[in-house]
């Protein structure tokens, strides 16, 4: 009796094998290429034996998260600590996944737990971790209130104050448009805390500045942002400025020429400094961007965690955000963006 299913099973496995070989080939080859850029471990003894887990909320495709991860592992390499980064496959939209990962992290009993206070619902778990003697450091998203912060038991917060950053962005850009103007806000993360809070800050400043505004619900999909901006400017030719709460605003470099708008004619502000934002700033289409220096958000908590673990220091907060990058600064950090250190 010849059972074809067995043959097909084997062929399928072979197909998978080919898939794996192809995948590993491509990946291995690419890894061999970048090996030169790794930070050399100078004094690997310093953080030896310290176990650190970073529970991020960024999906693997999130570039911002990737820079944080790079900073994290660079610091770990530098001090020789034992590091693992957990990231949810579905990204920040999946509360349960983030919390499950957090629980899995706590079950490992690391010395240091680095986490984001992405939702208030993670706080009980952070609380549990610090109760169990784990050093908890918050990064990127702070606890919304002081009492929340105390409840989590975290020793410090390293990152950007989101509302303040939104405010700073609008304020910095306001030099380029008169008060009382109509502006548009591109919301690239509808329903997500980081996005909504930045918007809150922007709106707060715009209110003080006497402006009117519309919010466009968008995404990180660049073509979507492009068509939305075009459509909006067509419909509202009186728009005097564009505030983007992510990096999508950079598409104006593609959109403005089509609409016959000169660089700088409508000021544009974005967040973060992707290669495109960089190009757009250098070309004058984007006026400024607010950088929160994600590399530091990965790097600093490792250093702090190891120091606190070894010497029982207290924690200290670091505001990595609010770096207003204009054309002059952009020219300086250009090579670092390509290296994945600035973003």
């Amino acid at each position: 009796m010849v059972d074809k299913s067995r043959r097909n099973f084997i062929i399928g496995m072979a197909g998978l094998g080919a898939l794996a070989a192809a995948g590993w080939g491509v990946a291995g080859w690419s890894l061999s290429r970048v090996s030169g850029t790794k930070v050399a471990s100078a004094t690997p003894a310093f953080g030896q034996g310290v176990n650190i887990i970073f529970n991020g909320h960024w999906g693997p495709e999130n570039v911002f998260g990737n820079v944080v991860e790079k900073g994290f592992y660079d610091a770990c390499g530098l001090v020789g600590a034992n590091c693992k980064m957990y990231r949810p496959a579905n990204g920040s939209s999946d509360v349960s996944e983030i919390i499950s990962n957090l629980q899995a992290a706590i079950n490992q009993h690391p010395d240091v737990l680095i986490a984001t206070d992405i939702y208030t619902s993670v706080q009980p778990y952070l609380h549990q971790a610090s109760q169990e003697g784990i050093i908890v450091i918050l990064v990127n998203v702070d606890a919304p209130t002081q009492s929340d912060f105390e409840y989590t038991g975290a020793i410090s917060y390293i990152g950007q104050d989101l509302v303040k950053a939104g405010y700073v962005q609008a304020q910095a850009l306001s030099k380029y448009f008169p008060s009382g103007s109509h502006v548009v806000i591109i919301n690239e993360g509808p329903g997500q805390v980081w996005a909504e809070q930045r918007d809150e800050g922007m709106k707060e400043f715009l209110k003080q500045y006497g402006c009117t505004w519309d919010v466009i619900e968008s995404s990180f999909n660049l073509s979507q942002v492009a068509s939305q901006i075009t459509a909006y400017l067509e419909a509202n030719p009186d728009t005097k400025a564009i505030l983007s709460n992510g990096y999508g605003g950079a598409v104006v470099m593609d959109v403005f020429p089509k609409l016959g708008i000169q660089p700088g004619q409508i000021p544009v502000a974005t967040f973060d400094i992707t290669p495109q934002v960089l190009d757009a700033i250098l070309a004058g289409y984007v006026t400024l961007t607010i950088d929160q220096q994600p590399y530091l958000q990965g790097f600093l908590p490792v250093i702090q965690g190891v120091l606190v673990k070894k010497y029982d220091f207290s924690g200290w907060n670091v505001d990595t955000g609010n770096y207003v990058i204009t054309k002059e600064i952009a020219e300086k950090v250009e090579p670092l963006v390509k290296e994945g250190i600035f973003y």
């Binding site: 299913s5 496995m13 990946a27 999946d94 509360v95 349960s96 499950s100 509808p190 909504e196």
Partner: protein
């Protein structure tokens, strides 16, 4: 001959309809255990079984609907909208029980609309529910303003929906609910005439109609059931984490279908089982946990998730074929 008897007993297990799903799960778990023994530790299992039952309930509804030949992508929206509406009603001073009932009625309405549009217009439910997914997600965003809201039920209600019971939370209310629903739907699907109708509707709609089954009613009923279950499990998740937020459905629209299919449900209707749906859910939501514990770096694990999905389904099919052959051979004698 005892050896023969033992062999027969062994054959009986293998030839069971649900053997393939179990086998696949066990293979996967052994793999993860070998990668990191703490995968099967009590504390990790209790982490897994806090969330999995919640999704399992949604997947049960999706599985039943898929057996009847239809999809519901809008579960991701229902999952988020129902707790938001309940929260809104409670913050308006309405009694919690009343709010929950209204929330579930809303879910039923969502399901009814999905069903009636699909059945009456003949548009594939994949598209209808893709549409309603956006419609209800938009409404969830509007009523929540895009922000997370605290979701606080009376503590008794919270405990009934999602509370630890024993073994460090491994046995919890969510799991009890899943078991209740699982047994109920198993009985309906495999032992009740309704189950017959559901399989027939998905297997061959025209033939089922010719045999006097009201296929439209069957479908609409299942759309309603699926939406109510999604709303119910959404409420459970909100109760568990004390928060309601418009995006809490995550990728449930696809994940639930993937879980059902991994558990052996056909995309084209007519095939599937309750236990398969549950095991599919366990598989899909333990892959990530297992890989994280194995210490795989985050980019690699995306790749591995993909590869594991394919391998798991392959193992499942292979086990199923063997199981079926043994079953047929037995009948043939």
């Amino acid at each position: 001959m005892t050896s023969n008897k033992r062999q027969m007993y062994f054959f009986k297990i293998i030839s069971n309809k649900e053997f393939a799903s179990f086998f696949t799960l066990i293979v996967l778990w052994i793999l993860f255990y070998m990668l990191n023994p703490s995968f099967l530790s009590l504390s990790n299992l209790s982490v897994l079984f806090t969330v999995i039952p919640i999704y399992g309930i949604t997947v049960l509804g999706v599985t039943l609907l898929m057996i009847a030949g239809e999809f519901d992508l809008s579960v991701a929206a229902t999952f988020a909208l129902v707790p938001l509406v309940i929260q809104l009603l409670m913050s308006d001073g309405i009694n919690a029980i009343a709010a929950i009932v209204i929330g579930l009625l809303l879910a039923a309405l969502i399901g009814f609309l999905n069903g009636i549009i699909t059945v009456k217009t003949g548009i594939p439910s994949f598209i209808v529910t893709l549409g309603t997914l956006f419609v209800w997600l938009g409404i969830a965003l509007q009523i929540s303003g895009g922000q997370p809201h605290p979701f606080i039920l009376p503590s008794a209600a919270t405990r009934i929906l999602s509370g630890s019971i024993a073994f460090n939370g491994l046995i919890n209310s969510q799991l009890i609910w899943l078991i209740i629903f699982g047994v109920l739907f198993y009985l309906i699907l495999e032992r009740h005439q309704w189950g017959n109708w559901i399989y027939a509707t998905g297997g061959n709609k025209d033939a089922a109609r010719a045999m006097g089954i009201k296929v439209d009613y069957v479908k609409i009923a299942l759309f309603i059931l699926c939406a109510v279950l999604a709303g119910f499990s959404g409420m459970m998740e909100s109760a568990l984490y004390g928060q309601a937020i418009a995006n809490q459905g995550g990728n449930l629209e696809l994940d639930s279908i993937a879980a059902a299919v991994i558990g052996g449900t056909s995309l084209f209707g007519g095939e599937g089982s309750v236990l398969g749906g549950i095991i599919g859910t366990i598989i899909i939501w333990s892959i990530e946990n297992g890989l994280i514990l194995a210490g795989v770096s985050s980019y690699v694990y995306e790749t591995l998730i993909g590869a594991l999905i394919i391998i798991v389904v392959m193992v499942h099919r292979y086990a199923k074929k063997i199981s079926k052959n043994i079953r047929l051979g037995e009948l043939n004698e």
